[in-house]
């Protein structure tokens, strides 16, 4: 399923959907996941504390309910939230993370159960050390529970709104470009208006062999090529 591309530097995991399209899953590393876990811990402790105050007044019955609540918060909280709330716990939502199945589909109940039961192993010997080592070795940052459950924690991509490049001069590239090079030039045309002039020049200078110009003229030629590639003649 996974089409691994060895020269890619990004931690994308690429899977092919049944429709034959490559889906890019940006795997999340240990750090944001640890922060999400701390947020979840704080949420759980707060709920426990708030629950404990009224239940403490109820005596034995209250203590019994408290223990059941503790059990549910410890074991069921991540399972139920991940399986029924779009693969996110409170902490994961705050950090923009999401648990997905290794093939990019939403995580199922059984997979959520497995990855959270096996937390008990990832926590060994102390403070998620086993999970940390596993996620540093694994190319997609999975801890042991993720590997057995066949799941992956990914970044939720920010909303990408497509903006057209500004209209200006049209300039045909002096030599034919490969599709990925065309994409890079058009991306420059679309993104450069939001960059500072200095940064625009810096980027355009990288493409000096193509534009055969340095500084501002290079930027204008790149804009022109982007327009030409977009089909504006």
């Amino acid at each position: 399923m996974a089409a691994a591309d060895p020269i890619r530097l990004d931690t994308y995991r690429e899977v092919i959907t049944p429709e034959g399209v490559v889906l890019q899953l940006p795997a999340a590393g240990a750090m944001p996941r640890a922060v999400a876990w701390v947020i979840d811990l704080a949420v759980r402790l707060t709920v426990l504390l708030l629950m404990g105050i009224p239940l403490g007044l109820l005596g034995g019955v209250g203590q019994g309910i408290y223990a059941v609540g503790m059990f549910l918060l410890f074991w069921a909280y991540p399972i139920v939230l991940e399986a029924s709330w779009n693969g996110q716990t409170v902490g994961k939502r705050a950090l923009g993370l999401r648990v997905v199945s290794a093939d990019g589909a939403p995580v199922g109940w059984l997979a959520a159960v497995i990855r959270n039961l096996l937390r008990a192993v990832d926590m060994l010997p102390v403070g998620y050390a086993a999970g940390l080592v596993a996620s540093l070795i694994d190319p997609h940052g999975r801890r042991l529970g993720d590997m057995v459950a066949g799941t992956l924690v990914v970044h939720v991509p920010p909303r990408a709104e497509h903006r057209a490049a500004p209209l200006n001069a049209v300039y045909a590239p002096p030599l034919p470009l490969r599709p990925d090079e065309q994409g890079a030039v058009v991306a420059f045309g679309e993104r450069a208006p939001r960059l500072t002039p200095a940064r625009q020049i810096e980027l355009a200078d990288i493409a000096a062999p193509l534009t055969q110009a340095q500084g501002q003229p290079g930027v204008l030629r790149l804009y022109g090529m982007a327009n030409w590639l977009l089909g504006r003649r």
Binding site: V61, A105, A120, G231
Partner: protein, 331 residues
Amino acid sequence: MRQEQFVARHQAEWQAFEHWLQVRGDARKARGERNASAVADEEIPARYRRLCQQLALARRRGYSPSLTDHLQLLMQQGHNLLYRTPAPRWRRAARFLLADFPRLVRSEPGCMWAALLLFALPLVGMFVLLQYRPELIHSLMEPGQIAQMEQMYDPADPRHKLGRASGGDWQMFGHYIMNNISIGLRTFASGLLAGVGAILVLIFNGVVIGAVFGHLQQIGYGDPLWRFVAGHAPFELTAIVLCGGAGLHLGLNLIAPGRRRRIDALVVAGRKGARICLGAAAMLLVAAFIEAFWSSTQSIPAGIKYGVSAALWTLVLAWLWRGGRGGGDAA
């Protein structure tokens, strides 16, 4: 085709799809209200496939990342919706407990029998040993622990004649749930350490339970002890063995994956083990209920207690042995 023409041609379609996702994206909410979008629900799979094709085209033709990212985002939202998790059903849960769970247990006889031996041999061995060498208990447990345990089952203590107050029952119910189910689930998970964790937990529990029972029997506190444990033992002891067996199965697949990649073997074993664990957790829940509300009432005559215990043992073993056999809906 150039990018601008491509966008001009398909933009309306993408916007309609995005609007539908916003209006109808939440399946639970969408069930109750009319479709306010321009696209009918049944058209969505076809539209989604068209979008996938357009995304593939856009990538192939080297259109800008900002366009392909936008299309991929739309596609991913559609993907999440079309391939979402089905809602859990009560009927399926009942069928799992009655038929699928015993079948799962029987499908791994080797691991289950091994777990039983790893648990029962230390238990029985320790029990018998302590009848002949009672002083050995002091090399296993602290004096404080021994005193506490003796005080809990002292037949001369008048409190045991009356049973606990009902608040105490509830308190113990919560305590048993937190403790026992957590132990069961951890026993399974620790099997991932090549099975060593599960083996250690099984042996350790066997030794400790055998030591406690052996010691109390030897000093003549047997009657309150047996009356207390008889009721919930069928569920609790069996569930611990089953969790251990599931853990052994997981560890075995790590060591000897057979003709599969190790990770694939683990995924398969993990699915099976987690389902066994869910069943065992349900058994431990029943055990906690019995332990808190039935086992603790010492006023019930011993005959009834042992009768109920025998009935429950028969029920549990018959369930595991026959459950899910011969049903018409064999999966």
